[in-house]
Symmetry: D2
Amino acid sequence: MQNVFDILKLGEPAILSPYSPAKHEITTPVEYFVSDSHRILNNIEVDLSQPSPSVPLENLEMMELAGPRQKIFFDPTKIRAGIVTCGGLCPGLNNVIRSVVMSLWYIYGTRTIFGIRNGLKGFLKEYGFPPLQLTPDDVDNIHSQGGTMLGSSRGGRDRILDIANCIMNMKLDMLFIIGGDGTQRAALAISKELRERQQKIAVVGIPKTIDNDLSFVEKSFGFETAVAKAVEALAAAHTEALDAINGMTVVKVMGRESGFIACHATLASNDVNFTLIPEIPFDLQGPNGFLTHLERRLMSRKHALILVAEGAGQEHMPVSAETDESGNKKLPDVGNFLVKEIKKYFSSKPYEVNVKYIDPSYIIRAAPANPNDSIYCYRLGNMAVHAAMSGRTEVLISRLHHQFIHVPISLAVSRRNVVDIHDPLWRDVVQATGQPMSMKNSAVSESRIL
Amino acid sequence: MQNVFDILKLGEPAILSPYSPAKHEITTPVEYFVSDSHRILNNIEVDLSQPSPSVPLENLEMMELAGPRQKIFFDPTKIRAGIVTCGGLCPGLNNVIRSVVMSLWYIYGTRTIFGIRNGLKGFLKEYGFPPLQLTPDDVDNIHSQGGTMLGSSRGGRDRILDIANCIMNMKLDMLFIIGGDGTQRAALAISKELRERQQKIAVVGIPKTIDNDLSFVEKSFGFETAVAKAVEALAAAHTEALDAINGMTVVKVMGRESGFIACHATLASNDVNFTLIPEIPFDLQGPNGFLTHLERRLMSRKHALILVAEGAGQEHMPVSAETDESGNKKLPDVGNFLVKEIKKYFSSKPYEVNVKYIDPSYIIRAAPANPNDSIYCYRLGNMAVHAAMSGRTEVLISRLHHQFIHVPISLAVSRRNVVDIHDPLWRDVVQATGQPMSMKNSAVSESRIL
Amino acid sequence: MQNVFDILKLGEPAILSPYSPAKHEITTPVEYFVSDSHRILNNIEVDLSQPSPSVPLENLEMMELAGPRQKIFFDPTKIRAGIVTCGGLCPGLNNVIRSVVMSLWYIYGTRTIFGIRNGLKGFLKEYGFPPLQLTPDDVDNIHSQGGTMLGSSRGGRDRILDIANCIMNMKLDMLFIIGGDGTQRAALAISKELRERQQKIAVVGIPKTIDNDLSFVEKSFGFETAVAKAVEALAAAHTEALDAINGMTVVKVMGRESGFIACHATLASNDVNFTLIPEIPFDLQGPNGFLTHLERRLMSRKHALILVAEGAGQEHMPVSAETDESGNKKLPDVGNFLVKEIKKYFSSKPYEVNVKYIDPSYIIRAAPANPNDSIYCYRLGNMAVHAAMSGRTEVLISRLHHQFIHVPISLAVSRRNVVDIHDPLWRDVVQATGQPMSMKNSAVSESRIL
Amino acid sequence: MQNVFDILKLGEPAILSPYSPAKHEITTPVEYFVSDSHRILNNIEVDLSQPSPSVPLENLEMMELAGPRQKIFFDPTKIRAGIVTCGGLCPGLNNVIRSVVMSLWYIYGTRTIFGIRNGLKGFLKEYGFPPLQLTPDDVDNIHSQGGTMLGSSRGGRDRILDIANCIMNMKLDMLFIIGGDGTQRAALAISKELRERQQKIAVVGIPKTIDNDLSFVEKSFGFETAVAKAVEALAAAHTEALDAINGMTVVKVMGRESGFIACHATLASNDVNFTLIPEIPFDLQGPNGFLTHLERRLMSRKHALILVAEGAGQEHMPVSAETDESGNKKLPDVGNFLVKEIKKYFSSKPYEVNVKYIDPSYIIRAAPANPNDSIYCYRLGNMAVHAAMSGRTEVLISRLHHQFIHVPISLAVSRRNVVDIHDPLWRDVVQATGQPMSMKNSAVSESRIL
């Protein structure tokens, strides 16, 4: 029976892997290879109060461990590999590119590696971006820069057939696709098209989501760096709020559908008074509305710092019919909206207020990866190459419970990772900010408010 | 004859200064005191091709050296001092406050020091900001934070009489005013009012201008830090431009009337392609207009980075009648304007462009001072206290040719420091960016353009 | 039957917790409390090739989840709490202190909180360090500084009875002990002594080990910051090696018995050529010895970067009989030793070499916590207070599989966390450096060396 | 009459400079060229109490302004240029290399540019370092790294004839030598040798001295960055001192004969209690000795931070006969010496002390240049190329009173820049630390000590 955790393979791996971590040694200890029977459990929580005397193993959700296999599917010296980065920038993209190229070249001896330029559009003839042939020299120092040496773009996802044609024309045997939710859906469609054409081409995704919103991905690469850069902006915002008469600063960070950056930055900064995220709707007006709570805060402490994720509060703004090329709905700017609403609300008050707005988004996403993200990206790239060499396809490399694993792309894109109002993360954000658990008038009976 | 460089004094200094750099020693070497006859030359350039066999000393422009005097005017243990910070934030404000308080307390033994809160408004009863009494403990660690522990505001300049009343009610003997051009004009007016009332109150200005636009101030405190923070934003902007298809990023930095931050950040970053400053007007359209040159750049290198000072290009935008409380004309946002114009210009082109906009202003101005600015602020605060103790008034502390000097406030506010098109600074910016010396169609004959 | 994972409790919790994350709300959603029956699995790896059709739940290793309990043991407004930091500095100490104090004060309403100064010695009368009474104001900004506001020391562990006396004299109800392996052993002994005296005092440990060597602790607080600072030193070391003729730089980092900092810094830096850790002994001389491999590297690339953990290579140095006050054997300086051995080895070669040594240890351990460590420390402090309030004792707060858990101190100190030669971490270090898996002559048959 | 400020020229400049800051314009405004008659005054201080009614111009010390000349000596498209970096590392070396190469290539059209590797040894056949031919691509990103892409070394100065031979064999027309005092002496000797051989080769020095000890150099490049890095080490050292029982930390920084880094780092850090520099000898023992003052400080504040320049206190240590290849006397490590003396002194005291030692020298000198140093280096490189093109030789590029100038190498090496005990810099250091002006027992009469 097909299990949703099962990983698709292009065929039986029959080639002995040349993998050896140490260049000058010919025998690799067997312990350094990962066996296909290695799994880790997805759900690790147990409630002892529930009546479950034993757990049948086959019923457990289990994820396949990533890593080098002793036998591989492709002859690594004969294959041609491609790598492409899609969507918005994220810290660590260059580290992942570097790691994939280095792993292909030095671990497996692959010599034909193409960097597709500017995202999926790089596959489309009319854009005229010839692929770059990559060697270790080309990527050796790229990790000291933010962004992606290949360039990136949204769009191209509606051109699955053309992309498949290009991949076949380039005679690629494996394609590494670094991108988010939408990109991985495209990766899946491309791979299906190629499989229908009987092509044995491994499509391996490396999940890139600065919002941390991909499910089965514990913490996406670049996320920690993004939080750290957001904290720098918050420090400036706090200073601006403190130093003005009734100063209020609104800071907007990434987070279209998930407020993870906002929540983590709140916990790291200690200075945020209101954290607004897409998952927790709020009212502006009314006794339990945001503006009432903001005024209360302002009266007691004379300043306030508001952190808002870009997807928060969209219910208060006109819906846009427009989408960007990633297919994402264009979101009205909630930061500007809040600033306007705050100014309007306080304009009738008999005191001066000073409202400022900081949008550090580009500074956050274009930053180079911090050391911890660098390690993560290095290992992600390794694991992606091991997975492709083993013949796995339509698979994402992910990390769960501190282990690298394989996740079917179809599973990963089937739902989103979001902050739950009952999650300890949100609980801790509420505690750290001093804001109410919910700022919906209806959600809270009067009696609950002190 | 009154010389414009002469410094006003409240009276003859007759008290032996308690100044000793070393706490446990009672005799201070005479070399550590500055004599009133010490001057430094303002103009240090000589053109040997000019016929000037000798220079009469009294005709030279000379600035009085700042520093501790052996005899002082005030009895430091009996006086009451005030300190106030005005206008927008700037790196180093807390360092200056700290240095003034520490110098008063430890060098001179003054024990009654007031911090006026939130700028000149802190002198006005209706705002209800009681002054803080400051001790070394209050200021010991403030320099690790950006901003000003006292708060700041614009406005209050039209209330000279009320401010003078408040100063008299507080029985202040000396007032340290940290602020820019407008603030220093107000300081002058306040001092004149106090003098007319026969008050012996020293008013000492510490010039704060992140734009570096005060004349007779070689480099204003916080300027280097501001440039360094701007360079960080430029790195992100460059990455965003490089990584998008025909990517262009516009970065706006401070500089209402002077483009120093933009020019220095350009030289430090190496990545800027167009630097637009208030002093050098430019055309948007036409064969020598900005947009034509931008397109040329884009065609040859596929990306462009544009750095614009906030006061640049105002001639292209509707004049606003509004002013802020500092009396500054409200400037329309030139960054947004440029983005709109660029998008419009390229909308008719048969290729995709991606235009982004970064405004790091608040992140720049709220940063803590870097080490070099810290040293500068430490010494500025020292010198201000020495000047006030000696009975000098209506004087700014400045640095010229690496020496700390006294400048009459009236002289300093009489003109602005600007980037000249014939200055080596602008020459080097043109060279570093590759942009034309001027992007006015009229200014350059066709023949000059290659 | 007593299970090694069972947590000791002082008694039945009978008091309704005042815990509410939101200050102005009186009802806390039940989901925000953690039930005592919540567990997470310790071992999450499964090998499907093993015959294990089902797993009896009671046989699984399970850790109790940390977090707020609905019923608590202590009346929080009546208790007296103490907090102490022991051993060497580590990034994040101040964040943990801050979080414990803030949680006690704001979440539980506890008003009597003592900071014990300078480690366990602060309990000993002869040192004369009176405890500090702590309020939120005292700790509000300490996290911007490295180190610990309480001071720290080694030693005092042989004075269990005196410490117990002091705790009783201070009438403490709970004690938070932040320290490493040795400190936690002392905490256990203190608690046992107090229990024998029938005292109901909660002793809660917060594991501090910059070496990351405590078992059942996934990643210790401050570790990421330490790695990041080590990477900065490695960048300088790499530059020094590259720019000299046959340049070699040795960098020493912390790691008495575990090489985690060295391994992670290696992966993050990309520039290290040899990583030497305590867990993997090496020969200096011989065909497979370190010096031979170093020479080979130098000949091919003209420079080398060597990263050594302080506990590595101790087998080559004279054993010291001395111990520090933590009871740790005093380790001879392996960095200096290696530099000497390298110089000796190359002194007979017909070419110039340049060997430099960098020991950034104090700069690493005195750094303030980075944002990710700040979040971690914030939550550790919260969890410690929840645990103590619930009446748990002799318990460490830890994080496993991204969840906060309780670990019996006795279990945590029963073994050490080390890098295993067959662990993917070491495999990846070998791969990243290009060094052999082992540099023991005996360990590797000739045939394995290419 | 030959004036010591006169600059040597290889001949009459007769070629029209192709210099234009703007690439697409053919006419360069005359204001952008510097005339040979432009000078700036060296001494800018005036004492009005002295009887000097007028100053004959020809008696003034005047420095020639650096910058592009309208007529140049060399045909830039035909010449061959060399560049070499010598001595210890310093922040900004790569920036200077980059600027020289970029200026030669883009401003003057020179296409044959050699990078001499590993200092003067790169000229010596037996070392076997072939020169690198440099293009803009080679240097485009080097400024993001510390150190020098060319490598560096001490030594080779005793091989003037061989170096001259090599320069002639390479057919170089101009040589840019980046190095300190000793290197510039060698540059002078090389140039004299070449002149004796009737060679028209411009030798232009760019002064590199992290110690800031070259005279006629206001502030050497990299100095600010070095101070900033030293301040980081001081922050860690301060934390270590504060957090230990009677903690004392000694930090050693560069400064063989001049204590500028130590003095500036002291003023920037605010935490140093004793600053020891080569220029101000001190006694260890005795009533006014360092150790007595250290004990007094320790007793009153329970911790102390000591900053020592490497050349300080050498009078207390055995003189070494050894020199390094730069001809510098090998200095015994004053940091270790002080730690030992402090431990010895306090060993007889009835209380515990904790003494730590931090030597951040390599981390300081290998850092990349900060933005302000980047600007400085960019302009230094420009000016050096302009000077060489104009036919000047045996000249250093320097900055004085914020202007770039030419200094004859012979003048610059004739004396050193040192901190004077009567300089305001030392006065401010004494004031900031609270240490005595002098810690010599003999220098201060008893009566002067309180």
